[in-house]
């Protein structure tokens, strides 16, 4: 393993919060490309291991692999968070694939009012405001959080389950493949 990669591993191991790519650059005195390479190297080195590199946009953290969640639970008995409703999962799926996305788009897809579901997901730190739309009233735009990846046990947003669309060239499919 290269020096930078080992240093990045050490930093991530000792950090109790996700670190931005920029912070890793500063800490290792490397440029973006070097840190990206180091991360890729670390990711490969951790294959088959109990922990993995987790990445949400430009935020990086370590996390245990989802297949060992049961073992970790048995050992540490962490608090269990409340179950999500089917509506919450639908909304999460839409936000995850369409982000950044306004409430109006989520409601268009689901065909129902989604205000309370979105608020609930925001309170659970699964989604967050990531910006404002340019439309009238500058609507809140939602995106997922690092916590979302942890709860779903995903290494990154690239690992989201892929949608299966039968129709060709619907607006949704274009949006989905664009964000996948």
């Amino acid at each position: 393993m290269t020096e930078v990669s080992a240093a990045v591993e050490a930093i991530l191991f000792s950090s109790n919060r996700p670190l931005k790519l920029r912070e890793l650059q500063q800490a290792t005195d490397s440029d973006r490309t070097a840190v990206e390479q180091a991360l890729e190297e670390l990711r490969l080195a951790l294959e088959g291991r109990g922990v993995m590199v987790m990445r949400h946009h430009d935020e990086i953290h370590l996390a245990t692999r989802p297949q060992y969640a049961g073992a970790v639970r048995r050992a540490l008995r962490p608090e269990v968070s409340g179950k999500l409703s089917p509506a919450a999962y639908e909304t999460l799926a839409i936000v995850a694939y369409q982000q950044p996305v306004a409430r109006s788009k989520v409601e268009e897809v689901r065909g129902v009012n989604c205000e309370s579901v979105l608020t609930n997901l925001e309170l659970r730190d699964l989604i967050t405001e990531v910006g404002r739309g340019s439309g009238p009233g500058q609507p809140k735009l939602y995106g997922t959080t690092m916590r979302f990846l942890q709860v779903m046990g995903l290494e990154s947003l690239d690992h989201l389950p892929t949608p299966r669309l039968e129709a060709s060239a619907t607006s949704s499919e274009r949006a989905l493949t664009k964000n996948a």
Binding site: A93, Y97, R110, L165
Partner: protein, 242 residues
């Protein structure tokens, strides 16, 4: 002319449909119909049956269901009268049907993904991050830590008497306090709140606090707090290295 196909009620696991789209999708899937081939008129009767069986408290929500029902009926009536060239309104309606199909398909795709996400969490796929630890505040690095100091300062300020009208105690300059604190730190760490409480009046407390901030700024001291809301210790930084 096709007979009304009502069929049995939907025997689905979640009998509550949040909106017309969800109900329509469930019906199409029950009939194993292809979203892009089926005429939505085919599921009209089943749709009406489901809506009639629903107990919807929210009139607005019910209106949504009924609006869809009305359009479906209209659509069905067009299909039942073949041969007539479609009027403008009917062309409109056929366009609407196409749009609903598109929306159904999009909704179906997301619903499926939602199902996969749900499966992941139900099989417990949680990825645990490293645990939160007591934060050891490094000297003056994070503006947040100064906020913490301010909180501590504010919490004790009220316990110190205001400056009397007739000044009895001495008036401290910043430099004097700096020297005093630096001197004390040679003997070991000082607890911040205790240090501030030594002040005879609030003005002195402010000077003391500013002196601590100044030492932080000059990187001569660090502050440490072992646990949240615990005591905050000010200590001298090692002159060499760091």
């Amino acid at each position: 002319m096709e007979p009304p196909v009502a069929g049995p009620r939907l025997g689905v696991k979640t009998p509550v449909f949040e909106g017309p789209l969800e109900l329509l999708l469930a019906l199409v899937e029950r009939e194993e119909l292809d979203i892009f081939q089926v005429s939505l008129a085919k599921v009209t009767d089943a749709y009406l049956l489901e809506v009639a069986a629903r107990e919807v408290a929210d009139p607005h929500e019910m209106a949504e269901f009924l609006w869809m029902a009305a359009r479906l009926l209209l659509l069905k009536s067009i299909r039942l009268l073949p041969g007539e060239p479609p009027t403008d309104e009917e062309t409109d309606l056929l366009g609407w049907e196409e749009e609903v199909r598109q929306r159904l398909e999009e909704y179906r795709a997301y619903k499926e993904m939602a199902g996969q996400l749900m499966e992941r969490t139900e099989n417990d796929s949680f990825a645990f991050p490293p645990p939160a630890r007591p934060v050891e505040a490094g000297g003056q690095e994070e503006p947040l830590e100064v906020g913490l100091l301010l909180m501590a300062f504010n919490s004790v300020l009220a316990r110190i008497p205001p400056r009397p009208l007739v000044v009895t105690g001495r008036t401290w300059t910043l430099q004097e306090k700096l020297d005093l604190i630096t001197d004390r730190l040679r003997k070991g760490p000082i607890e911040l709140v205790e240090l501030i409480l030594e002040s005879e009046d609030r003005l002195e407390a402010v000077v003391t606090f500013v002196a601590v901030l100044e030492l932080l700024r000059r990187s001569l001291v660090t502050v440490r707090q072992k646990e949240r809301f615990g005591p905050i210790h000010v200590e001298a930084r090692a002159p060499a290295g760091d």
